[in-house]
Symmetry: C2
DNA sequence: AGCTATAATGAGAATCGTTATCATTCAAGA
DNA sequence: TCTTGAATGATAACGATTCTCATTATAGCT
């Protein structure tokens, strides 16, 4: 999906909810389109050189999450990073550096993804739990911290 | 591994580091042995009916993590939950309820686990990243929230 | 058993990420 | 243009976590 069509999809989604695709929200989305992994509020704040106030960033994140445009990344100690939801970025997994905490996206090929899916379904069927999504986090050391 | 031998292993590990296996630390470990999923500082605090002050719990968690006895659970927004490290509890995965946030352990059979391992290794070999561990988080709704 | 050195504790202050408040600004539609 | 609700910026409030420091407890020595 091209960056322009992404913005279009997102604007549509917001308008459906009677919300506006304002510049703060666009900035957040644009940064996350470019980024190679999820970002936290303060990382975004730095990214913008402080031009967008933190309170606006937090509010944008809330709105974008509520409308299903962003998804929180389950894999961080102490802070919350966000990424584009799967319908916008496709399914993927993460590397998490145990030293610096950096998170990087990883693509998975279909063969492997199918086996993970099978596993998730099989496991869930054995217990009272309805699976909606899954996330494989690979913990290790990134190139910089190795 | 029996509960008693677990405590023994842990005490040894602490003594190697010239640290003591005090009652606060024992309480934390005991609670995590019993629990069916990772717990946060305040959940532990409640578990103990407030008898162990929060500051002690936090300090115990830090010490136990530094010595490799506990591992932080990567899968929670806003707070940190801990569980026994893998050498004490064995490898497993998690269900995370997207409504109430509860986390529950899930066992994985060898067949599936091997395919996940293969996938992790294969992926990591393609990028500059040294894998140390992995965590499969299954997000969904638990029985209570379904 | 008593001493001593140091680990560990308890209580509270301080910090950090995040959320809520409120007056002001902006933008879409009449 | 005017109106109305959405969005903003600044700041206060909040909850989770960490730090500080004076006090207590414990292992090792005599």
């Amino acid at each position: 999906m091209t960056s322009k069509s992404l913005h279009g999809e997102i604007e549509n989604r917001l308008v459906e909810h009677e919300l506006r695709y304002t510049s703060a929200r666009k900035s957040v989305v644009a940064a996350l389109i470019t980024s190679d992994g999820p970002l936290s509020a303060s990382e975004l704040h730095d990214e913008f050189g402080g031009s967008v106030p933190l309170s606006s960033i937090y509010r944008s994140l809330v709105v974008l999450e509520e409308t299903g445009i962003l998804a929180p990344h389950l894999g961080t100690k102490g802070l919350t990073r966000y990424e584009l939801a799967e319908w916008l970025r496709g399914h993927h997994h993460h590397f998490v550096c145990i030293d610096c905490g950096a998170v990087e996206d990883v693509a998975v090929d279909d063969t492997h993804e199918r086996s993970v899916d099978a596993m998730v379904n099989e496991i869930s069927s054995r217990v009272a739990f309805t699976p909606i999504n899954h996330a494989l986090e690979i913990e290790g050391r990134c190139a910089r911290c190795a």
